[in-house]
Symmetry: C2
């Protein structure tokens, strides 16, 4: 399938215009479209404009509020819990992160638990917001139940990502952003398009047996926690996914575990909800609450160059620093454009027609 490249600024304008058309303020539409385009620029195609249809469907199903009144429910000098009023996570999470940054400025660190939200795009976007303030950024979220705990065949957790961003002096920043499953859903989609099987250890079938079916989720199977099986410590991936779920939802008052409302609008949220919407958790730590920022950043540079130059197994595959791939991708795509598949282009054209916005 031939991909066509699109200028990222034009894609962002289109996305923002559509988000305004469904009721967002110009500011919120700009913010949300920026989160989506950042995903496309960083090469996380599954979390970019290809998801626009999903957000629109949530709005149609009246599960997403384009004019949220985001409200602080509780706070202390270093913490807050906020109700996202069913807004897009793309809007709610950056606003929560601003609160965390402000609290970190005042008392050293700031931590915000968020309930009643929706899918927040790439976790890395929110964590990276801390960097320009010489702070460490953190972002977690729970997500549509797709993943079985070790020894289970039931989908109990989402891909529950962890993002952490550390500032640097002259090196590019260290930006980790990864799901706590062996493979994220986007990785399966790539294989589906190519009509390929998955490696073993990514997914199990509905009975909990090994499978390499890239459509395994559609067939009732489940993703596996990082580690894949007990012998390779999938219980650690399960722990990580659980920690993210509890921090994001049990702490904030959102739905957790199997109650997390699915991103797909045609899948009904479960009855007897245990909280409000989906949950996120974001945080910021001021570097100079621990040591002078210049010292830390100089040592981060040293950490990065030391790891980048450590002995590789093969000269053709040097050791990478978290964020390397996404940065190179961003540089390339800002110049060359964002590649979209025909199916995504067609979808965006249809969305354009729906709201009389030219794609």
């Amino acid at each position: 399938m031939e991909e066509t490249r699109f200028d990222y600024k034009k894609l962002q304008t289109f996305t923002a215009t559509v988000l305004e058309a469904i009721g967002h303020s110009p500011e919120d539409a700009l913010l949300a479209s920026n989160v989506l385009i950042t995903a496309d620029l960083r090469g996380v195609d599954s979390h970019g404009v290809a998801r626009l249809r999903g957000y629109i469907n949530l709005w149609k199903a009246q599960r997403m509020n384009p004019k949220p009144h985001i409200r602080i429910e509780h706070e202390t000098p270093s913490t807050a819990t906020i109700d996202g009023d069913q807004g897009l996570g793309l809007v709610v999470a950056p606003k929560a992160m601003n609160i965390a940054i402000e609290k970190a400025r005042n008392v050293g660190t700031g931590w915000v638990a968020i309930n009643n939200s929706n899918h927040f795009g790439i976790a890395g976007y929110h964590a990276m917001m801390a960097l320009e303030h010489d702070m460490i950024g953190f972002a977690f979220t729970n997500a549509t139940p797709t993943t079985a705990p070790t020894f289970s065949k039931q989908r109990m957790l989402g891909t529950n990502p962890i993002a952490v961003a550390f500032p640097t002096a002259t090196q590019a920043p260290f930006i980790a952003d990864f799901s706590t499953t062996t493979a994220a859903v986007g990785k399966l989609e790539i294989l589906q398009r190519k009509n390929l099987q998955t490696p073993t250890g990514w997914i199990q079938d509905k009975d909990g047996n090994e499978t390499q079916d890239a459509y395994g989720l559609k067939h009732g199977g489940a993703l596996l926690p990082l580690g894949s099986d007990r012998e390779h410590s999938s219980h650690k991936g399960y722990c990580l996914g659980a920690i993210v779920d509890i921090m994001s939802a049990v702490l904030s008052g959102a739905n957790y575990g199997p109650w997390v409302p699915p991103f797909l609008a045609f899948m009904e949220p479960s009855q007897n909800q245990v909280g409000k919407g989906i949950g996120h958790f974001v945080g910021a730590m001021r570097i100079d609450a621990f040591r002078p920022a210049d010292e830390f950043k100089k040592h981060m540079d040293n950490w990065i160059t030391t790891f980048r130059n450590c002995t590789p197994v093969s000269q053709s595959e040097p050791v990478q620093i978290p964020g390397d791939y996404e940065r190179e991708c961003t540089e390339n795509r800002k110049k060359e454009g964002i590649p979209l598949l025909p199916i995504v282009i067609q979808d965006l054209q249809e969305i354009g027609k729906m709201f009389s916005v030219e794609f």
Copy 2:
């Protein structure tokens, strides 16, 4: 090899007496021995009294100070950086955790980065200290370089554990405590004693090739990050180990990456140290800084019973909650005694003679 069981209180008294004999105050000796015995009770045999010899060797090599003057180098309302003055991590980390708890009491959360410390035993001990205060506890540490980043054959990181403890109402607390490698060193030791090979994906040889040699570390190989290989997302395990290293050491001013001084006293710390000793990072979050503690704990109970009762693949292997195994082990060992191998007993007897303490 037949194991013999020993009463945990007597083992603790012995351990505390030895630690006093090398110069610790009675209070510090009691605290450190409590951390070690807690590891033995929880079934983490590699981190219990079997390590006593290692700590004594560090003391003999003048790399451990039994009378540390633990000092706050810098602080804000929610943070502190402390210099452990080359004390035992077993003593320094609980004191740091008390500071974190006090700060959380005042401003919602407390975070303490620690430099100039030594091995701190099981991370879970320090995280669990938060529970009785209705707080979430966190503990990380870096450790002896044993682990190769994805694509490398060089040992750059330790097993760098993560511990998180969540309080509950009537259920036993959720206590995750795990290394960020596929297998921890203790797991290799168990196989060595049984003369068995490791599963694939635990370790690589000195050239970065797959090996199942349980003595692979001694033969110049390296542990693999959680995920084992790139196809199974070892880059995520590498990210986790890196995050723990940076939080514990780049933030605190301790040694990081390949510079971390090895626990084994006969291995010289590298020249050109980049910081002081090894580093830890601990934290505490007051639950009611986010929502009423009773609400949170009631939902934690629900989380735990929901996950415990989710459909297992096999009825003979039910889904576990982090901390289950260690709690059952503790109950058993408090009654039946702590099983020690002949080689450990002999070692403790020799230590006893050295300090005229009866074992």
